[in-house]
């Protein structure tokens, strides 16, 4: 079968490797259909991910596939079903695991980052991490369940969003999906911002996010005033991983407000502690998701509470994996989710 290997930063090779061996009783064999390329994949491709420094690595943590075979102990899924799976391998013994926060396991390993991911024709996952997907969801949509689960989890971190005004900084896939979740969870108004890409804002509009601002053309405080008037905003999501976005959110949020940090920062930002302290802000990290976030993402996509098709802006066949990354490098602000299609030649 084919496998895409990121050998060193900047270099992906497609190689031929043997099929996976016999399944253990709790394992499921997936035939991979689609893989989404994630912003953090690109960070790793550039050798600039804050935690991933070991090469070679097999990437791929956003994917969909068909169940081909199941181990003898597997009860919840069977061959022929569509599925995806969480990429988290956890210890189950550390304090966060013991209190149910396995997404921040002290010994967390993520497939596609440190452990090998799904960038191959066939992939073995364990039953406890598998998430079945109804037939009404396409394979492409199913490959978006992972980033949607990030949106589910991070918006849960922010507490009750009903009646709140919310800013989402960053209009990539994650920012877009967070904004859609915020609306689905009953926020009053959502403003989605970008540093420069009108293209991404037009995608946001297609997804039902009507209030947007391009901060290369409008100052953040002006946009806040235009959209929220005197009400200001109470919750901010940082999904850009950029100094300017953190600075704007921390300076602009209402006293007592909450900022959720979702973006990956290649360089750590300066944070105004005068605002953080004296405005009693809550700056909360959000890391990936739990199983229930995957399940909620599936439900929201199936119920059309999330609009996913405008997010997929380009498609590459598996053999053009490296071309997909180069495309993102060059056209980053003119693309959103780039999909690898293993069934296209």
């Amino acid at each position: 079968m084919r496998q895409a290997v990121l050998k060193t930063p900047g270099d992906i090779e497609i190689r031929d490797i043997p099929m996976p061996g016999e399944l253990k009783p709790n394992e499921v064999l997936l035939r991979i259909h689609n893989i989404g390329v994630c912003g953090s994949d690109i960070h790793v491709f550039h050798g600039k991910h804050p935690f991933v420094t070991k090469y070679p690595v097999i990437q791929g943590h956003e994917y969909s596939g068909e169940i081909i075979k199941v181990g003898e102990g597997v009860k919840t899924v069977k061959p022929g079903m569509k599925a995806t799976a969480r990429p988290q391998i956890v210890c189950g013994k550390c304090p966060p695991c013991l209190r149910g926060q396995y997404n921040i396991c002290q010994n967390l390993t993520v497939q596609g980052f440190v452990a090998n991911g799904s960038a191959q024709d066939f992939f073995v996952v364990t039953e406890d991490r598998i998430v079945p997907v109804p037939d009404s969801i396409t394979y492409e949509q199913a490959a978006l369940i992972e980033p949607a689960a990030v949106g589910a989890h991070s918006t849960n971190r922010a507490g009750d969003l009903r009646g709140k005004n919310v800013v989402v900084a960053g209009s990539g896939t994650i920012g877009n999906l967070i904004a859609q979740f915020v609306l689905a969870r009953g926020a009053r108004k959502v403003l989605l911002t970008t540093a420069k890409s009108d293209f991404r804002l037009s995608i946001a509009k297609e997804c039902g996010i009507s209030e947007t601002a391009n901060l290369s053309k409008e100052k953040f405080p002006d946009a806040v005033k235009r959209v929220f008037g005197e009400e200001g905003f109470q919750v901010g999501f940082e999904a850009a991983g950029a100094q300017g976005a953190v600075t704007d959110l921390i300076a602009g949020v209402e006293n007592g407000g909450t900022i959720i940090i979702v973006g990956v920062f290649e360089e750590n930002p300066v944070v105004n502690m005068g605002f953080l302290g004296e405005h009693e802000l809550n700056v909360l990290g959000s890391m990936m998701y739990k199983q229930e976030d995957y399940e909620e993402a599936v439900r929201f996509i199936a119920e059309n509470k999330l609009v996913t098709s405008p997010l997929i802006t380009s498609r590459f066949s598996f053999d053009k994996y490296l071309d997909a990354y180069r495309f993102i490098e060059k056209q980053g602000d003119k693309s959103l989710k780039v999909m690898i299609d293993l069934f296209e030649n």
């Binding site: 966060p96 940090i261 920062f265 502690m273 005068g274 953080l276 405005h279 802000l281 809550n282 990290g285």
Partner: protein, 345 residues
Amino acid sequence: MRQAVLQEPGLVTISDVPAPRELKPNEILLKIHRVGICGSDIHMYYGKHPFANKYPMVQGHEYGGEVVKTGSAVTLFKPGMKATARPHLVCGECAPCKRGQYNICQNLKVEGCAGPEGSAQEYFIIPEDRAVVIPDGMSYEQVAMIEPIAVGAHATKRAGILKNKNVVVTGAGTIGNLVAQFAIARGAKKVMITDLEDFKLEVAKQSGVFETVNIKKENFRDAVKRIFGEEGFQIGFEAVGAQSAITDIMANIENGGTVIIIGVYVQSPVLNMGFLGEHELNVLGTLMYKHEDYVEAVELVSKGIIKTTPLITQHFPFEQYHEAYKFIESNSDKAVKVMIDVAEN
């Protein structure tokens, strides 16, 4: 009457000013006995407070006084009683005020800080709604400590449940010391306090905070290991306002942990967003206190649960207000709380 005025950064003068005006019905006239000097007073004395930069300023927001006269509508206070009061002036109309978070009023003014004049004078008028009743038997010095103790009460409430948690407090000045005492009073399993000065750590021990670390002599990570073993710590209070302190806490706290920012930063620090985000930390600001924090502070001091005597390291008479600041400037390693004795007893 005499009044101490911070004329400009670096210059405190004593002036003679007219006695206070007539009382309004809801007001109380206090004869000030003690004024405590706060770290933020010193920031302002240096001209380096991030927000408080209005000169000339009559400082003083930590004080204990004797009620000498009351307005016609005052019911809880009578001449001869001891009292202190919260220094905040709030609008009552902004969103935080309306949800009861008046300590972070969007239009907050603080007496003796960026607002109207403080208590660095012989007589001072306070309204009854900001005053707290002091039980007999508490000394004026203890009364002047209620303000920083209320900071400790509020900051430790911001951290959620402390029972059975391991806690680190960086900074063994007045606030750090009191936060550590509160963490113990609220049932923390172990509390470790750090500082660069043995003198302050000795004061912490005298106050009942026994696990002390001099960061000049022992690496933070080693100290955490020595004191908490494999358990690590779940809550951190940053009461220094220093880059290294916030860096140490965020790099070592258990995943999912909570960090409370209390210190005033002359320079905003760089925060490791990798840890904040991927460890799902909760970095929370805390500002001053609410009335119930003052009330709790009075209760815990009167029960002997919070100790104040070891913290008061120097006294200066009112005429030597400037000398007191100069003393702190050149002896910060030997001073915790410096008291100004405005009246003799």
